[in-house]
Symmetry: C2
Subunit: 209 residues, 2 copies
DNA sequence: CCATTACTGCGACAACCGTTGCATTAGGAT
DNA sequence: ATCCTAATGCAACGGTTGTCGCAGTAATGG
């Protein structure tokens, strides 16, 4: 008696691939406003009701898209200095937030309408920040920052201003912003601003919480 | 506070007051999800079509609510130190973001669906940051930070992590967060991290290439 | 007091959203 | 090969959203 395991390969998997592909394509081609369940269903050749049953709404679709985008091989650049690494990171954040079509903005917007999309986006960022931990490790190894530096707090301090100005404040894009925030944060870190209670050089996966 | 300059007092103004009052009440009583044009219309006793014609959608309603909320007498607290002032400010930000009903979160969510709501919210925050400039002025006067410190960048560096973690990352509320971000920013400011309103490329710290 | 103008109430309408009951089909198991 | 089950296709539905034309009414200006 096998437990009611899902059927891994077959029609279900094919349908899922069709729908997610259509959702991705519509998102980059026509933007978030054109992304309705009905549009995705029509584009993918799958019936409306099926999409509603399996994904419930657009947020569920985007959550699945996000989850399926977690397994890439992205890594932060290595520029040789903490300020340089953080600047490069912030440039990527900025590029993602001002790109057109506004894919990242669309996902953020969706996260306010759908709980699944919100948690999926949180997981995505969690993964990204975890991968960035190596940036702080390198800075510690170079002696740029104290050994007890809290990588998470440092990374958030560096990137948060970029998100804040482009996403929340909706101020016009400023090419100097990534570098400014990066250098200010590096300076603060060197001064010991992020000395935290977390054990130094901790290599345990950040997935737990 | 001016709606249509054509006929300031009369039925039009009365209708507007009824609708905005109903919108405010519904927002605090039943939350953002219950705030539809139809609900507001029914509650206010004004016809659906009238609300659609004058405000277009929920975002337009919230934009008007926000605009009418700009004239309060809010001022940042004076605690005697920069870190204290920033902590107090961040505590207010945190309180606004975790309050229930989630009024601030509702306005942020609305800003992703409606351009008028987005600009209105931007104006609101712009006003708030301008009022907070005095915090930096006091710090300069006390000699805590250099005279050329850019108040805007400092304030954003201090508050952005709070918004980032509670709004974008959706991490659980952390009572220590406001103080941590405030102290780190005060430390960075004392080290001269926010010197200069528009740092040129020539002012990059040594060691970066 | 009357004429003009602007706004509102009203009802109808199409479009869209999401759900449901039922028949059919495809996968996997025996 | 045949049965069993889960998933899909299909059609219809009720509810919501947003718009429109028309008529009535309140405010303004003479």
């Amino acid at each position: 008696m096998t437990a009611t395991a899902r059927r891994p390969g077959g029609r279900a998997a094919r349908i899922r691939a069709q729908v997610l592909t259509a959702a991705r394509a519509l998102l980059v081609e026509r933007g978030y406003d054109a992304l309705t369940v009905d549009t995705v269903a029509e584009r993918s050749g799958v019936h409306r009701a099926t999409v509603y049953r399996r994904w419930r709404d657009v947020g569920g679709l985007l959550a699945d898209v996000l989850a399926s985008a977690l397994d890439d091989d992205w890594r932060p650049r290595d520029t040789g200095t903490l300020a340089g690494d953080l600047t490069a990171l912030n440039e990527e954040v900025r590029a993602a937030l001002v790109e057109d079509p506004p894919l990242t903005m669309a996902l953020i917007a969706a996260s306010f309408r759908s709980a699944p999309a919100a948690t999926a986006l949180g997981r995505f960022w969690e993964d990204r920040y975890a991968r960035c931990g190596v940036v702080v490790d390198r800075a510690v190894a170079r002696g740029e920052v104290p050994a007890g530096t809290d990588a998470r707090r440092l990374l958030i301090a560096a990137t948060a201003p970029v998100y804040h100005r482009l996403v929340l404040l909706r101020q016009p894009d400023d090419p100097g912003l990534p570098g400014d925030a990066a250098r200010a944060t590096a300076l603060a870190a060197a001064a010991g601003a992020f000395d935290g209670p977390a054990p130094a050089a901790a290599e345990r996966p950040v997935g737990e919480r």
